[in-house]
């Protein structure tokens, strides 16, 4: 596939996450405005744009946290518009939050055991925590490098460690698509490297990523495909080096 084919289309690619005409207003503010975007499956997709350009709201609409006013979200050929968040999560879309959200009064290990990929309420009621789940949780904690803290309460972790915990918690459900809202926000450069490394490895294992990020070094080195948002709408999309030189992007960022 060449990058020039990766323009946003109303026609979703097979197996991809895509939105058509997605819109959401808060009062008079059109936070997301007619967003038609197709993300590349199996790739690291970035969503960039100035503050307040609607990236987080767009993520919230896709993951069902907010009901869009109009438009549709499709995933792997299914219309998932307006489905409740847990259904979308169970369909295989995991997400992190811009201001890292973990369960502060639960231990690190308990945090890992929250996610549900399938099963009935009754099943969860009678099943004690499975050894296999705990082993998997420990494996992921080791992978992000906080396995030594499994008995600590999550609120006692540093912000960076909390971000790693949130990521590990999302991975617990083994989502095929992972949406990260500013994973590098507020963490030190060493940790940014580590998170970037994790994303790259996970991607090589087949995970699709959608990443909102302001750290341009990270975006340019990491992503295969970039979608640029401005005032709620996607204004450009393509490979990093293409988007980088797009005059509309420069205008949105620099106001020239």
């Amino acid at each position: 596939m060449s990058d020039t084919e990766m323009q946003p289309r109303a026609e979703p690619l097979a197996g991809s996450l895509a939105t058509v005409g997605l819109s959401k207003s808060f009062g008079g503010v059109r936070a997301v405005d007619d967003a038609t975007v197709t993300f590349l499956p199996g790739k690291i997709n970035a969503v960039i744009g100035p503050n307040g350009s609607g990236k987080t709201t767009y993520f919230n609409c896709v993951t069902g946290m907010i009901k869009p006013d109009s438009g549709s979200v499709s995933y792997r050929g299914n219309d998932i518009t307006g489905r409740p968040p847990h259904r979308i999560a169970q369909a295989g879309i995991g997400r992190s939050f811009q201001l890292c959200r973990i369960f502060p009064r639960m231990t690190v290990l308990e945090n890992m055991l929250v996610s549900v990929r399938s099963g009935t309420v009754l099943g969860k009621l009678v099943s004690a925590r499975q050894r296999t789940d705990i082993d998997r949780a420990r494996e992921l904690l080791t992978r992000v490098g906080i396995d030594h803290l499994e008995h600590a309460e999550a609120r006692d972790l540093s912000y960076g460690q909390q971000k790693l915990l949130e990521l590990a918690g999302v991975l617990m459900a083994d989502p095929e698509t992972i949406m990260l809202d500013e994973p590098a926000g507020g963490v030190n450069p060493a940790l940014i490297d580590r998170i970037g490394g994790l994303v790259r490895t996970l991607n090589s294992e087949g995970k699709t990523f959608l990443i909102v990020e302001h750290n341009m070094d990270m975006i340019m080195s990491l992503s295969d495909h970039i979608v640029v948002f401005d005032r709620g709408s996607p204004i450009a999309a393509g490979a990093p080096e293409v988007v980088q030189d797009d005059p509309r992007v420069l205008e949105a960022y620099l106001g020239v």
Binding site: Q90, R105, A128, R129, N188, D193, G197, R200, D224
Partner: protein
């Protein structure tokens, strides 16, 4: 290489487990022995009856805590379920003549079924709205049961047929009901413990911490809340039914009282809602204090003032309740305990060095080059 240091941290916290478990089991055993021995130790029937009342409160508070403790949804109207449980038990006995204990169980089932639509309606709203809906339900039930005299006995109340014959004397009645309540409490505690260690329980606690986040991780939050709400209503109704059988009389004004629900909340908060034994400890303290004030000052409202003050103190100085506060004290005075803060500081520097190696290896296996090339 980096695993060496992490393993020591894990090992030291793992070594702490058995001792905590031994302490817990010892405490549990002491509690059981005390409960079994209490009726023998009680000086007179009055003390024994206070014991029954406290036991009943322990059952109700523990039942309340299925919702309050796990999900953080504070219901001030749980008297709805104890009251309905009481009335369902007694009306079943009066109208169908079934065995009183079967009636109590059926009462619990009926209330659990009623709790399904109530839960569906009320668990959609969070925070203050949920509290208000729960209060509104009690008030509605009070009005209904007061005015529907032909069925419920109305404001005149309803005499409850005794499950044990008249040949069983008062102190003996108290003793039997004390043990019966203890058994019910044990079942509720066991159920709480089972949920606590299940994946379902983890999901519920996640709802308490951050409901939207839990849902984003795939937890069907509404279904989870509803199931635990129904379980809570079931046990609360059993508690209400058993108390009715002991007390022998039902009056809507006491059955559907905001105060009863408030006691359940206060007791649980006082003892600590995160611990299975928190509500029980709270019931012992509040129940004893209330009976003490009533005995000392008669039927004035002074015990309410005292309770209000108590609640204020707890909220201000022990927001997590007595049990966690005690545990905090123990941990603080245990010399070998390292604070997690120290660990994180140490880990922070280790993290920084560790990540550089990692990202270096990752770069080798990364897919970036081929894509951007």
């Amino acid at each position: 290489m980096r695993n060496d240091s992490s393993r020591t941290v894990v090992a030291s916290s793992a070594a702490g487990w058995p001792r905590a478990r031994v302490a817990k089991l010892t405490g549990l055993l002491a509690l059981v022995v005390f409960v079994v021995a209490f009726p023998r130790m009680a000086a007179d029937p009055f003390i024994l009856s206070v014991g029954v009342i406290i036991m009943s409160y322990a059952v109700l508070a523990t039942s309340w805590n299925f919702v309050g403790g796990f999900t953080g949804y504070i219901s001030l109207g749980h008297a709805s379920y104890s009251g309905l449980g009481g009335y369902a038990t007694v009306l079943l006995i009066l109208h169908t003549g079934v065995n009183p204990w079967l009636a109590m169980f059926l009462g619990g089932v009926i209330v659990a079924l009623l709790a399904i639509p109530i839960g569906i309606a009320s668990l959609r709203v969070r925070g203050a709205s949920f509290v208000i809906v729960s209060i509104a339900l009690v008030l509605i039930l009070l009005l209904v049961f007061q005015s529907w005299g032909s069925f419920t006995g109305g404001s005149n109340g309803l005499r409850v047929p005794r499950p044990f014959g008249d040949e069983v004397l008062r102190p003996e009645q108290h003793e039997r009901f004390f043990y019966l309540h203890a058994v019910l409490l044990a079942i509720a505690v066991l159920c709480w413990w089972l949920i606590d260690r299940s994946r379902f329980g983890t999901g519920l606690k996640a709802i308490r911490e951050d409901e939207d986040k839990a849902q984003s991780l795939g937890v069907p939050t509404f279904a989870y809340k509803l199931v635990v709400f129904v379980i809570s209503a079931f046990f609360t109704a059993l508690g209400g039914g058993m108390y009715a059988l002991w007390f022998g009389f039902l009056d809507p004004i006491f059955q559907f009282s905001i105060l009863t629900g408030s006691y359940m909340v206060l007791m649980s908060l006082l003892g600590g809602i995160r611990n299975v034994f928190g509500p029980i400890l709270g019931a012992v303290i509040v129940g004893y204090a209330m009976e003490f004030f009533k005995a000392q000052y008669g039927d004035t409202q002074i015990h309410l003032v005292a309770l209000g003050v108590l609640l204020g103190i707890v909220v201000l100085f022990m927001p997590d309740g007595i049990l966690p506060a005690l545990r905090g004290l123990v941990i603080r005075f245990r010399p070998q305990a390292t604070s997690i803060r120290e660990v994180t500081q140490e880990e922070l520097t280790r993290d920084a060095t560790g990540s550089r190696e990692e990202s270096a290896t990752d770069r080798g296996t990364g897919t970036k080059e081929e894509v951007s090339g």
